[in-house]
Subunit: 117 residues, 2 copies
Amino acid sequence: MADTDPTTTNPQFYRILWENDDVRVLEYRDQPGEQTTPHRHPNTVMVTLTGFDRRLTSGVESRDVTLPPGIAVWLPAQSHSGENIGSTPTHTILVELKESAVSDLPAPLGPVVENRE
Amino acid sequence: MADTDPTTTNPQFYRILWENDDVRVLEYRDQPGEQTTPHRHPNTVMVTLTGFDRRLTSGVESRDVTLPPGIAVWLPAQSHSGENIGSTPTHTILVELKESAVSDLPAPLGPVVENRE
């Protein structure tokens, strides 16, 4: 099976900031029009440092999301690819949870925005 | 024992954004000169949305830290109080880990800055 770790599939966008027994922390940056290849995320909390518009594709469905800067969203474990469909760079921090149980139910595509005040 | 949850001890600064089985996500905001009362954090990843200068005090020792915006730091489980000793507001997101084992060893006071590129 191909490696689907985004730091391997798309090292131009994802880099490891640090990790310990509990978490691996990634930084993601891209420019408008850039897109990732298919990759897999574990359960993750993503914090947006910029606002951006993104199209996420699972291979079966796609979903467009617009996120403001400075929010935290839940990204349930999933495989997808993404495209910056807006006019602003994307900059986010991803906190991957190593000890988190992955649900047997299908995860929604993309982030679950629990609070966007 | 008194409640040392920072959302209870200092609700003017801390608020719960959302939580699930794995994490509780808080937002922290303050202004220069403001300070918290003693409170306890579980193992936490903190993402800075602003840069700030902060004095942390455990009751036994104190430590001053200067953090830039847009970094992720590890805050090992600890009790402390904090003071904004700079000239800029503080705005951070705290990802509290519910399933993380707390070390028996004394934690360093304040954040562990693993990467500050």
